[in-house]
């Protein structure tokens, strides 16, 4: 499998008559996008723009999607939602790099997920650095939460797909090539390099905590093997938006940094064999079964090492430790990527599960750290949710519009794919 990614660098976003890219500016036609995303389940969909440095707060953020367009090869981006379930991950895909669609709207009353485009909060979220088309969705009274969630999720994909069309005629700024050999070819080409896979844990617990693979609800899968290039075409998408700091948005899945950094060492220090995706279900039996299958696949692949990433808080710690210890007991060396809930003072036990075999851990930081986010000129989404985040999540909304919250309310702040530089140390 071979995938060429052509990046078109987007440095600004504006509304225009036609959706197009010109000199790094992404022009978005409101009419075109609104026509494409229309959904009878929702009462209104409005579009806003948020650029890096703007005095803008977006909340509650549901998902973030990077616009990508498949121009050559089988299938299309976001299979199972925007295109059919053809296999993806080969051919040519164009990326509006630096642009993002951000969906917002309260599905349940307490939802967090803050993106500040400027100020101290901007340092904690990657989406303060992207030029964002913000899609604000309103649902009628009485729409079930399940339908509401599905509607908002798909609106985001559709908006990303329609603006990605602007890439078709744009000039590509840079090309990247990703090759994925089959197991046999890889072993022949790199006989002396350690075989490494990536164990990709997906949040799968129910409404607002789900992840989809080619349109399949991942709580219903057994762990399986995928090519790292499939993620780059949107084979994995997010329906997970609770715990804003350590959920993976669709943007994260498209730009998985562990996949990128394993590719950077592929053929030099290691032979990157592929990705084992697994889930994080609610029952202990499911956790046992999925970690057993993960270990079995790792064993069948003859792995020497693996990186295991987590998504979320609490019970996924159990999945993480099961995956890690089962691989280590097979002699497969692991590094786990997680984040911490060490309390506001940083003095408590960080994880809900631990094992001495997990001796190589990378952390995305303590999600309980408290931060004050100053008021912004504009709030996109539901300004009402500010009160609710503040109350329900034990923060406080001041009269001047500033919010004091733990960084767990900020989208992507302690990402467990190692997307950020934020981390924690013992002092």
């Amino acid at each position: 499998m071979q995938l060429k990614l052509g990046r078109i660098n987007i440095t600004d976003i504006k509304f225009g008559d036609k959706t197009k890219v010109e000199k790094g500016v992404l022009y978005v036609s409101k009419e075109q996008v609104l026509a494409a995303v229309a959904d009878e389940r929702l009462t209104s969909i409005t579009l806003e723009l948020a650029r890096p440095g703007d005095s803008v707060r977006i909340m509650p953020v549901k998902d973030v999607i990077e616009p990508r367009l498949k121009v050559e090869g089988s299938g299309g981006v976001l299979p199972g939602f925007i295109s059919k379930v053809e296999m993806v991950g080969s051919g040519t895909t164009l990326v509006l790099s630096g642009a993002a669609v951000v969906t917002t709207g309260s599905i349940v009353g307490f939802q967090e997920g803050i993106v500040d485009m400027s100020g101290p909060g901007a340092d904690y979220t990657p989406f303060s650095k992207t030029c964002n088309l913000v899609v604000v969705c309103q649902a009628p009274e009485g729409l079930s939460q399940h339908e509401h969630e599905a509607a908002v999720r798909v609106v985001g994909y559709k908006a990303a797909a329609v603006i990605a069309e602007a890439a078709r005629n744009a000039e590509v700024d840079s090309w990247e090539e990703y090759q994925h050999l089959n197991l046999f070819e890889g072993m022949q080409k790199y006989p002396d390099l350690p075989r490494v896979a990536y164990v990709y844990m997906l949040q799968t617990q129910g409404l607002l905590h789900d992840t989809y693979v080619y349109g399949v609800d991942a709580k219903r899968i057994l762990p399986t093997l995928m090519s790292p290039t499939e993620m780059m075409d949107g084979a994995i998408v997010s329906g997970n938006c609770v715990s804003a700091c350590d959920k993976n948005t669709t943007y994260h899945h498209l730009n998985n940094p562990i996949i990128q950094d394993l590719y950077a060492r592929h053929g030099k220090d290691l032979n990157f064999i592929g990705v084992i995706i697994t889930n994080e279900n609610v029952t202990l039996a499911d956790k046992q079964r999925s970690s057993n299958f993960t270990a079995k696949l790792a064993d069948m692949l003859g792995l020497d090492g693996a990186i295991i990433s987590q998504e979320g808080f609490g019970n996924p710690d159990t999945d993480l430790i099961m995956n890690c210890t089962k691989l280590e007991k097979l002699g497969i060396k692991t590094v786990i990527v997680t984040d911490e809930y060490a309390g506001r003072d940083g003095g408590s036990q960080s994880l809900a599960d631990a094992d001495p075999l997990a001796d190589a851990t990378v952390t995305g930081g303590n999600a309980n750290e408290v931060i004050t986010l100053p008021a912004m000129d504009k709030v996109f989404g539901s300004s009402k949710s500010a009160d609710i985040i503040a109350g329900g999540f034990d923060g406080s909304l001041a009269k001047d519009g500033s919010i004091t919250v733990e960084i767990q309310a900020i989208t992507g702040a302690t990402n467990e794919l190692g997307f950020n530089t934020l981390t924690a140390r013992e002092i």
């Binding site: 949040q203 129910g206 607002l208 715990s243 029952t283 202990l284 808080f313």
Partner: protein, 122 residues
């Protein structure tokens, strides 16, 4: 035999309506921690935890509701014990739910039910 321990009225009614003879639905008065404590006492007597007590990304200090399903067993299940103890520790560390409006409470009841509704008991 299964025990559904809950302090969530939505989950309580939903499980009662299932009328499964294998399932005993037990109302547990009190907050998140009281469900954990009651479940811990059952684990000490040989019950197994079916659903992880920290399922859902809504932290113990962000909701007062918890529904835990346990299965009667014969000996101590160490995995159940360790997850329940870790959940108790996490709940102590994060503090107490500060309270909220009725509509938020209803959403939190709904989410708690969502996290246990699809569990197959067999």
């Amino acid at each position: 035999m299964f025990q559904v321990l809950t302090n969530n009225p939505k989950a309580y009614n939903w499980w009662l309506k299932r009328e499964n003879k294998q399932v005993q639905v037990v109302w547990q008065e009190g907050g998140f921690d009281s469900v954990l404590t009651a479940a811990r006492d059952l684990v000490h007597l040989g019950y197994r935890v079916i659903n992880h007590p920290l399922s859902s990304s809504i932290k113990p200090n962000q909701t007062p509701y918890k529904t835990l399903i346990l299965a009667q067993g014969t000996g101590l299940d160490y995995q159940s014990l360790s997850v329940i103890e870790a959940a108790i520790a996490a709940s102590k560390k994060l503090g107490v739910f500060p309270g909220s409006t009725q509509s938020i409470l209803e959403d939190l009841q709904f989410m708690d039910l969502e996290m246990c509704r699809e569990i197959q008991l067999q």
